[in-house]
Each structure stands twice: as structure tokens, then as C-alpha cells.
Symmetry: C2
Subunit: 454 residues, 2 copies
């Protein structure tokens, strides 16, 4: 970033922080700063501020820039902004969004406002938006663009190029062109590059390749996950009878993957994902995203109180045992989390599937045994040295068993979650910690009782 | 997925699992299956198997398909495969990779093999690969494609289109075209779409727009993170004097983001990221990715033993206190993890920056207070009910303080990590749990001593 840009950003930041209405005599200077700052920095600036301030900034931007900035915001942030902006601005921003982005925004809005926005569109735009709205939430049809060119297999290269040129204004992309039969059934895909570099009288069907495509009802996350590594710019979306209904572009797929990664990252930390940037999220939304999880986890942790309660006599007889409780439960939790994190990510990326259950069990059991042997040996030596042989044996054995158990349970839990239709990340880290805490304590006290003869 | 595809995949999977060399009489059937299965499923199949088996599958694929599949694999997996494949195949695969992918693969290989591969390229390809190799690891220059068209501002649309057509074969993308002056200084960008739909005698400089670009020495992750939300297909990369040196395409940016997300997800679970799919990772690599972390965390957890040891008299006087240890440390850990996860993700996405330290402190302090009041009240009621008023007060107060402290520390730790140049995810969840465990115990016993008068 150049020094000048940095300085402009600081001025803009200070102005937004002041949080007052625009002083008319400052407006021209701020307008100039906003117009000259690179668009990526303006987006970052607007993203970091709440709706009231973001709206101020949007109003001072030149029209085309303000549209680009609004377009780049998360749907939840856009929805917050709607309240702050005037009708004319809102209708214009809404009209400029792609149909799939419009639908994401509508999902965030109260029905009444959503209705009003939809009615502000002209008939054509309302129709294409309606196509996307018709598919269920969570399906890829809901995230596609319904605006695809009509390229038929019988066309020549010149005819196809002419068709693209005529309709380019209405298309989300012209670079990946689905090829259909006259009845709109998908038969191939041709890249614009191929078309552009081929001789004009050749037939599209001789140049096209086999289509990689998805069904509109397919799950959005799964589809985006397998689509991204192929490095295609776009792919056709079809209905059950393979008729072309839309196109999925790489940027929409990337958005889906980013949303899901943010959600997985949040859940594996025991919180719900924020729907908008942290700094512009109201405090109460932060509390809401955490409190339910925290309560559920705290209530599950009552199990550990129960377990310890039932071993109270053992604890009273050997208070030294309580010194190791956080170390042992912590290590169990860490081992379980490692396995769970690895397998959850592998499930998300499609590297592990539900039917790999037995293979994962066998892998994690062995990994856990190796980790447990190493930690157990270390624990045995240290504990023997400070607290004597008996305690050394108890700690060493407990670590061995806890690591083996935790790695296995941690690795399998995400797969089980997926099998019952839950998000693997939900059953990931915090739940595994709590589970490993309780089970680990039982293992610990059973070993202690038998070794120490209590 | 159609039933036929599913069946083919099962046959292929069984064959790869059998792990023997190809029975000559099976080869034609397997070859046909592999040629007919959708490419995305073949990639998934190859990704899930170790190098020996993956090499078998690659050999049976038609030439063009095997190149596509090899291209889609992670560099670490490609490197493993190099050992299993013959020289001719390896040289061919290597030659077909983009220069930036070649460099990623070279980074994974022993110097001697890397040298041999480089020497197998013809002079032109070796030169473009050399450009990328010249930038430091972790810079965006290392991930760009050096093959960019020469479009000058003085050209007409027709001239520019002709230039693209001539050089299309050697370009990574033709859809985003950087525009330069004769001395190669970047002055603008024009999309192919604009060029294609404009009148042929217009000048490029009248149609181009201000370039969004990055410097070759910029950090790869940061650049990819701000580039992705802009939804551009590509952007120019320049040297310090803004001379055009390459282009970054969306798919390379997406790869960088995915790698970093995988690394963050792994580290926040207390393990190192695997460099290749879970199922094809050797067992020892799994152990290696976890053991160092686990040891460091276990040694840090010795702190909790130390803390408890110093409160041994209090523990002996009131054994009931030990019952709540896992519940309290667990809740502290969970609250800390929630804050850390949220802020780590916000840092990664650029929503929070280091200079927001005070704002994050103030936000998390308040969130922690609200969460602590709710949990503290609940804990007070439950503990009073079962163990009496004294214990109720201790538990309630402890939960209030632990939640406030953990949320604040958890939110600030990732920012501090970033400030000292460490990966925020490293100091994230498991370290915060251990830290909160030890501090939480001190809070707990200090409160207990003063309330119970021990």
C-alpha cells in the first residue's frame, strides 16, 4: 500500500469513527478521498463499520463505485444497510446485483421488505430472480446464475460468437458456454477461448468437450467443494432431465466454500459463525452466537462433577490424585481435538467419506497408541520422580489409555455426526473435550483405585 | 451421481485396494471404466490412495486425462508420485504443468530430482519457470503465472484481439488483459469481454479501466485474501517500478486461500496441517503432525499441576472443591476458544487488524461479562442447591471471573500473536485452554480460600 493511500485511509477511518453526520464543508474532500482510494481498501473500510457509518460512506462514493462496494458486502451486512439507505439507492443497488446475490439478500430480509424489493425490479429481472428463488435453500440451484446463452450443437463457430456478442450484456459469464440440443438438453461445454481461436465455419459440436455439470437440487457445499479444485471458470447446472437451467461461476462457488469454512471454523471453536465482519457485528449478536453453545457445554460438563462425586472417597484418600486432573483431561481433550480437526477438514474437502469409518478407526487407534506410548512414558518418568513409583504407574497408564481412546473417538465422532445428518464441525472440538474429560476421569480413577489399592 | 458411475467407482476402488500389479487381462476393462468415469470422480479416487496405487491408476488413464488428474493433485502428493512413475511420464506431466504449479512441486522435491526435472524442459519453459522461482517463498510472485500478453495502450481493439489470438496458446488466461506502456509499465486492465464487444477501431486506452494489481513481493496469503472477494478472474502482478511481470488467476488465489484455511483449521485444533489428503497420508506423518504440539501442550499443562500443588492444603481441607475442577477449567477453555476462534478467523479474512487491539479488548471484555453473569447465575443456583450456599457463592463468582478473563484473553491472544509475527492460529485454541486452565484454577482457589475462610 502506498503511503498516500495509507494516509487517506486514516483520514477516512477517523471520519467514520466520529460517527456524526457529514459536515457539508467536508463532503467534497471526503468524496475525493473515497473516489481516489483503491476499491479494495474502500470495501475493507466499509466492511469494518456498522450500517449507519457504512451508509454514510456509500453515499459519498461515485455511483458506479458504490454499486461495486455494496455488491462485495456479505448479505447480512447488506440487509443491515437497507434500513439506513433511501429507497432510490436501495432499489438501484438491488437491481445491479446478480440474481443469485439478490436471493441471498432476500433471505436475510423481513418478508415485507423482500417483497417491496422484488416488486421494484422490471419483469425480466423479476423472472430470472424467480427461477433462483424456486430452488430450496442449501441447493446449488439457489446459488447459480439463470442467465445462460443459447448455444446449440448445430451452430458454427461464427454463429455462436455472434450469439454471444448479441447477448453478452445479459450474461453472468461468456467464457464458459454450455452447448445444448434444441430441446435445451445439455450435451457439451465449449470455452470461449476455443471458440475464439477456431476457424469460423467449424461446428460447435466438433469442438465442444464432455460437460462437467451439477443438478440444481444438488447440495450447494458438496458441489462447490468438488467444483473448485477442477479450476474451471464455470459449469452448467441442469434439472432432473438434464435441461440447462443455469450456470455456476467460480466466484459463487468460492463464496459458498468461504462461508462453509467460516462456519466450520466457528463451530469447531464452539460458537456460531457471525454472518458479517467481526468489527461491524453488534455486541448482542456476538453474545447470541456463543451463549447457547456455552450453556450446552457447561451442562454437559456437569457429567464430570457427577463422575468425580462418585469417586469422592478415592479423592479424599489420596488428595494428590486431584493435582493431575487438569493435565489428564487437557491432554485427552487435545488428542481428541487433533483427530477431530483433521478428520472434520478431510470430510469437508471430500478426502474422507462416511464409508471409510473402519479405515479411520484403524488409523486413529494406531496413531493414538503411538502418541499415548510416548506421552505415557514421559508422564511415568516425571511423576515417578516427583511423587513416587505408584503415582508414576497410574499417570503413565492413564495417559496411554486416554490418548488411545481420545484419538479414536475424536476421529470417529465427525464421521458419525455426518452419518446422522449433523454438521461434523458441531460434534467436533468442544464436545469431544467434554466427552474425553468425563471418560478420561473414569479411566483415571479406575486405574488409581486398582494400582493404589484404594 | 448416477448408479452406473457409482458402480464403476466401487469396482475401481476394490481394484486399487487390492494393491497388486495389474492383471493383464483386467487392464482393458479397467481402462474403459477409468476413461468413462467423470473426471472429478477419478481425481477423488486418485487423491484418496497412496502413491503406489495412484500411479497404477494414472498409468491406465488416457494420456490427456492422466495429465488433468496429475495437475489437480496437491504438490506433496505429486512429489510422492514422482518416485513411482517412469521418467517419460514424469517429464510429460511436469511439462504440462503451469509454471507456478511446477514451482510448488519443485519445492517438495529433493534438489537433485528438481534439477533433473528442470533440465527436462525446453529453454522457453525453463525461462518462464525461472522467473517464478526467482521470487521468495511466501510471496505472490511465486504463485503467479509469468505468461502475460503484450497489450499496449496505443493498440486498437482489432490489433489487441489479433495479438491475443496469436499468443493464446502460451497464456494462462486471455480473459483479463493487463495494458502497459511500451516500457511495460502497467497502466490499465481490459477484460476480454469489453474488447470482444467493442468496435474494432477504438483504442484500448479509451476502454481500459484502472488496474487492481499487486506487487510480486507482496505476501501471498494477504494478497489472495483481498483479491478473492473482488470476484475478478485475474489481476496483473508488477515489480517495484510497476513493470508487468505476471498475472495471478482466481484459481491460484483460491488454492492459496484453501491451503491457509486448512493450516488454520489444523493449528486451531493443535496439529500441523497435512500436506496431502488424510487417507493417502502415511501413518507416521500423522503422528509427526501431532506429537510436537501434544508434547508442548502437555509440558505447559504441568503448570496446572504446580498450581494445584500449591493449593494442596485447601484441597485437603475441602475435597468437594476438586469436583468442580474439570467443569470450571472446561468452561474457561470454551469461552476462551470461542473468542479466539472468532478473532482468528476475522484476522484471516482481514476484518480485524492489529491496530484494533483496544476495540477488541473492549468488545470481548463486555461479551465476557455478559456470558459470565449468565453462567455464574446458573452455577450459583445449581451449586447452592446441591452443595450449599458457600459452595454456590464460590462457583458463581468463579464462573463470572473466569468467563470475563477467558473471553478477553482469548480475543487478544491472536492479535498479539500476529503482532509478534506468529501465526494467530498457533496461539489459538489449545494454548488458550491451557492458559485459562492455570489462571482459572488460581482464581478458583483464591475465591474459595476467602469465601470458605480456609
Amino acid at each position: 500500500m502506498s503511503d498516500m493511500t495509507k494516509e487517506s485511509l486514516d483520514v477516512l477511518e477517523d471520519w467514520l469513527k466520529a460517527d456524526k453526520s457529514i459536515n457539508p464543508k467536508d463532503a467534497p474532500r471526503l468524496q475525493k478521498l473515497l473516489a481516489d482510494t483503491p476499491i479494495k481498501d474502500v470495501i475493507a473500510l466499509v466492511e469494518r463499520h456498522n450500517a449507519v457509518r457504512a451508509a454514510l460512506a456509500l453515499r459519498l462514493l461515485p455511483r458506479q463505485r458504490s454499486i461495486e462496494v455494496f455488491d462485495a458486502l456479505d448479505s447480512a451486512h447488506q440487509a443491515d444497510l437497507i434500513d439506513e439507505l433511501g429507497n432510490t439507492e436501495v432499489f438501484e443497488f438491488f437491481d445491479e446485483l446478480d440474481p443469485d446475490d439478490r436471493v441471498s439478500l432476500l433471505d436475510e430480509l423481513p418478508a415485507e421488505i423482500a417483497d417491496r424489493l422484488l416488486r421494484s425490479l422490471d419483469q425480466d429481472e423479476r423472472d430470472v430472480t424467480g427461477v433462483v428463488l424456486g430452488y430450496p435453500k442449501g441447493s446449488i440451484g439457489r446459488r447459480m446464475s439463470p442467465q445462460v446463452p443459447e448455444i446449440y450443437r448445430e451452430m458454427t463457430v461464427d454463429e455462436a460468437l455472434a450469439r454471444v456478442r448479441e447477448t453478452a450484456d445479459n450474461l453472468e459469464t461468456i467464457y464458459t458456454l454450455p452447448v445444448t440440443r434444441k430441446d435445451r438438453r445439455l450435451v457439451g461445454v465449449i470455452s470461449f477461448r476455443t471458440l475464439f481461436t477456431a476457424r469460423g465455419n467449424r461446428l460447435v459440436e466438433d469442438l465442444m468437450s464432455d460437460p462437467v455439470f451439477a443438478y440444481a437440487h444438488d447440495d450447494a457445499e458438496e458441489t462447490a467443494r468438488w467444483f473448485m479444485p477442477l479450476d474451471f471458470l464455470a459449469m452448467p447446472i441442469v434439472d432432473e432431465s438434464t435441461r440447462l437451467v443455469g450456470i455456476l461461476t467460480w466466484d459463487d462457488a468460492a463464496d459458498i466454500v468461504e462461508e462453509e469454512d467460516t462456519e466450520d471454523s466457528a463451530r469447531s471453536g464452539g460458537t456460531e459463525a457471525l454472518q458479517q465482519p467481526y468489527m461491524s457485528t453488534p455486541l448482542l449478536k456476538l453474545v447470541r452466537s456463543r451463549i447457547v453453545w456455552l450453556l450446552v457445554l457447561a451442562v454437559s460438563a456437569l457429567l464430570t462433577v457427577k463422575v468425580l462425586d462418585s469417586f469422592e472417597d478415592t479423592l479424599a484418600a489420596a488428595v494428590v490424585l486431584s493435582l493431575f486432573i487438569p493435565l489428564l483431561t487437557g491432554t485427552g481433550g487435545n488428542t481428541g481435538n487433533q483427530a477431530a480437526t483433521t478428520v472434520t477438514r478431510a470430510l469437508a474437502l471430500g478426502d474422507v467419506r462416511s464409508k471409510d469409518f473402519m479405515q479411520v478407526l484403524w488409523r486413529e487407534l494406531r496413531v493414538g497408541l503411538v502418541l499415548g506410548s510416548l506421552l505415557g512414558a514421559l508422564g511415568f518418568i516425571l511423576a515417578t520422580f516427583v511423587y513416587g513409583l505408584d503415582i508414576g504407574i497410574v499417570i503413565g497408564l492413564t495417559l496411554l489409555l486416554i490418548c488411545t481412546m481420545s484419538a479414536t473417538v475424536g476421529g470417529l465422532m465427525p464421521i458419525l455426526a455426518k452419518a446422522i445428518g449433523a454438521d461434523p464441525a458441531v460434534f467436533s472440538n468442544p464436545f469431544i473435550s467434554t466427552f474425553c474429560d468425563a471418560t478420561g476421569l473414569i479411566i483415571y480413577f479406575l486405574i488409581a483405585k486398582s494400582v493404589l489399592g484404594l
